[in-house]
């Protein structure tokens, strides 16, 4: 974490090929202790970045998947209701015993106060991802995945966590992280996020990579693949992206495709092989139908 270049190398050593902009954002996030909001289309490596950072720093990764209807009790903490219930049962049984020798009602009440209110206390608390992340004393990587899928209310609730690395639990008090976690939020832009949230985060947009970067990514993700094949398949994918498709292939699809080609023992792109494995790359039937007649032509295209 000493410099951006060191960071690029470090990420590479755990298998993530980062562009300079990505590494700089991460570097600033760590140094300014700010969460980092990662945007970009599906499959460009948003989640992967968080996983790799955790691997690089040797920190535990705590992941929270967001969805519509996600609320505090699922994200932060819940009371262990069953245990609380048992506790009251025990309390009831023991109560008569310990209050038996109290002189009158007032004395009994005094003694009751003295017994302490355990009902809402840490042992009855069931920590959920956010709270777990704050309680990791040596820090951790917290991944809040697809924040755009959550409700606006939840987004507002996150603000306290993100700016001060603390949460308030009404019954207990404020819980503050000893070591602030490194927070990644990812978004596919399903809805616009609030300004307040954006303002608290560094912003990183991961675009689809250029050919050079993509070649390096494929080479590092699929060890043992022939350099010639990598160039061919990357330029094929790159030219697909210039076409008007319902879903352009992203990096993860390129990598999957490279793996598929290895499985099929292909050492060069042949129209036959491409046709057989096109469904790895394209996820819509219409897209496949559009591309199929053009395969031979696309393969012949000069390398990007």
């Amino acid at each position: 974490m000493a410099s951006v270049d060191a960071l690029i190398q470090g990420l590479e050593s755990v298998g993530y090929i980062a562009s300079r902009r990505i590494a700089t954002s991460l570097f600033m996030a760590v140094n300014l202790q700010k969460p980092i909001l990662v945007e970009g289309s599906a499959g460009v490596g948003k989640t992967e970045l968080a996983l790799s950072t955790a691997a690089l720093l040797g920190l535990p990764l705590i992941r929270m998947q967001c969805y519509e209807g996600l609320d505090e009790s699922k994200a932060l903490y819940e009371w262990k209701y069953g245990k609380q219930l048992l506790y009251t049962q025990i309390l009831k049984d023991r109560m008569g015993e310990s209050l038996a020798d109290a002189a009158d009602m007032d004395a009994a009440m005094d003694r009751l106060h003295g017994m302490g209110d355990l009902f809402f206390s840490e042992p009855f608390l069931e920590p959920r991802p956010l709270m777990k992340a704050l309680r990791e004393d040596d820090g951790c990587v917290l991944l809040i995945d697809e924040i755009d899928k959550s409700d606006e209310a939840f987004e507002a609730f996150l603000l306290e966590v993100l700016s001060a690395y603390q949460v308030s639990i009404p019954e207990i008090g404020v819980l503050k992280a000893k070591t602030p976690p490194i927070v990644f939020l990812t978004s596919n832009n399903v809805r616009d996020l609030g300004d307040a949230l954006k303002r608290r985060c560094l912003h990183l947009h991961i675009p689809l990579p250029d050919a050079g970067l993509e070649r390096r990514i494929v080479a590092s993700r699929v060890p043992g693949i022939e350099g010639e094949l990598v160039s061919q398949l990357v330029s094929f994918v790159q030219s697909l992206r210039t076409l008007d498709l319902r879903k352009s292939p992203s990096i993860s699809e390129t990598v999957d495709w490279a793996r598929a080609l290895i499985l099929l023992n292909a050492d060069a792109l042949e129209p036959e092989v491409v046709r057989d494995s096109l469904n790895v790359l394209l996820k819509f039937e219409q897209d496949i139908q559009v591309i199929e007649p053009q395969i031979a032509e696309l393969i012949r295209k000069p390398l990007a």
């Binding site: 300014l32 209807g69 609320d71 209701y81 219930l85 409700d151 209310a153 954006k198 947009h205 675009p207």
Partner: protein, 453 residues
């Protein structure tokens, strides 16, 4: 550097990248951390702190490049004879002019610095409009001391000495180069601080422009209006759909909890919370595209189109003589084609509100239920045909809210063949709406008040 950063923030704000004071503080912290020695690092780090959307990143990149570029200054070529004092041949008037000395010596960096200083005095960075460019260029040059130079050149031309004249020529060439530089400098400042504000100004004017005025909207403004309307519709839909997403567990449902706890001998192990049942609201929009609203039709349809794009549950209809459903047209085409297609199929005929209402009630009445908001876009000019008030009453009764947006000003309502006043009785809201700004305000009110949630 402090000042330069502040200027940079101003340039960013001018190109529509929001930089709040808190972000400015972050940026300062960033700079303190990374320094400016590594330009790429400096740029990327600042970008990560300041730009918040992919769009803003683009604008940030552009602004950064313009702001931190200093063109290499091409002044007059340095004198061929390096040893001689370049000022020697000039007439005595040039004796103590600093600028003349810099020009004659071709000292580019000193000139660049002098220009920056002069620009500050001339307040070039306050530039707002492109028409200010020539005046500010002139002012910038005056601040640098151009008057003096012109006097020297004039004096040199009067000299008998050919070497003096030649020196005058050289100074003149340098002056012209300098003027060019100054104009480029001002141009760049304009680009930095004002290029977007011109656009903003036009957008603002457009938002207030009456859309049913003669000639409708300028074709030049068409694209801009579409963008505006789209942005507006998106904002509205954002609020509109958010309401639906409220799903929370709140109060204890005692009845169901007790029933569930019977299995545990009355111990409430499974507690059940009341859930809020959420209405799924829908919109039925009916748009008049007849002759009388010709000027506003495009605007109304653009709005219809944008609304259709952003609201999940919407039924769209258009009518002039008869009424048709235009949902599939809006779904399948790009905005321009969709609008043309609607107009081609049904546009610009004689309006017949009564018939159109009949069409609607015959075929589409089942679209309406107590969750539906009906939005009518039209001028209620019915060519003296029967307005069929009874049908509008039916629509009102069956739907949750009936909203009428009329592109004519209120004072025209009820005049001539307008039956707006008679329709108005059945509307929850009836408002004139002939500018984008008005439309936005009304729709916002409507969504707040009448959309079920």
């Amino acid at each position: 550097m402090q000042g330069a950063l502040e200027d940079f923030f101003r340039a960013l704000r001018a190109s529509d990248v929001r930089v709040s004071p808190a972000e400015a503080i972050d940026a300062h912290r960033t700079v303190a951390k990374v320094g400016f020695a590594d330009r790429e690092l400096f740029k990327d780090a600042l970008c990560a702190t300041l730009a918040k959307t992919a769009d803003e990143v683009d604008r940030f990149d552009r602004t950064f490049d313009t702001f931190f570029t200093r063109d290499t200054f091409v002044a007059a070529p340095p004198p061929e004879d390096g040893d001689r004092d370049p000022m020697e041949d000039l007439p005595p008037e040039g004796g103590d002019s600093e600028l003349a000395r810099m020009l004659m010596a071709g000292d580019a960096s000193a000139l660049a610095q002098a220009m920056e200083e002069a620009a500050e005095r001339a307040q070039v960075s306050q530039i707002r409009l492109s028409t200010q460019r020539s005046r500010l260029t002139r002012k910038l040059l005056e601040e640098m001391g151009l008057g003096e130079i012109e006097r020297i050149i004039a004096a040199a031309r009067r000299l008998e000495d050919p070497r003096g004249q030649a020196a005058g020529e050289r100074l003149d060439a340098a002056r012209q180069a300098l003027a060019k530089e100054a104009s480029a400098y001002v141009e760049r400042q304009h680009e930095l601080y004002a290029s977007e504000s011109g656009k903003n100004l036009r957008e603002e004017l457009l938002a207030r422009k009456a859309l049913n005025s003669d000639g409708g909207i300028d074709p030049v403004d068409q694209a801009m209006m579409q963008a505006l309307v789209k942005r507006m519709a998106k904002r509205l839909a954002d609020r509109y759909s958010r309401r639906r997403n409220v799903a929370w567990t709140g109060h204890l449902d005692v009845r169901r909890t007790l029933r569930k706890s019977m299995g545990y001998g009355g111990m409430p192990f499974d507690i059940v919370f009341k859930t809020k049942k959420i209405d799924k609201p829908s919109i039925v929009a009916i748009c008049d595209v007849s002759k009388s609203v010709a000027a506003a039709a495009q605007f109304l349809l653009t709005f219809l189109y944008s609304l259709n794009e952003v609201v999940d549950r919407m039924e769209a209809f258009a009518f002039s003589g008869r009424m048709i459903s235009v949902n599939s047209l809006l779904d399948e085409n790009k905005v321009e084609t969709a609008i043309l297609e609607v107009l081609k199929q049904i546009g610009f005929q004689q309006t017949d509100y009564g018939r159109s209402l009949e069409d609607f009630c015959d075929q589409h009445l089942d679209q309406l239920d107590r969750h539906t908001t009906v939005i009518f876009l039209g001028d209620a000019r019915s060519n003296y045909a029967d307005p069929r008030l009874d049908l509008l009453a039916t629509i009102q009764k069956r739907s949750r809210a009936l909203i009428w947006l009329n592109p004519e000003p209120e004072s025209y309502w009820g005049q001539g063949d307008s039956v707006m006043h008679r329709y108005q009785r059945f509307c929850h809201v009836a408002k004139p709406c002939n500018t984008l700004a008005q439309l936005e305000r009304i729709i916002e009110d409507v969504l707040r008040t009448y959309i079920p949630h």
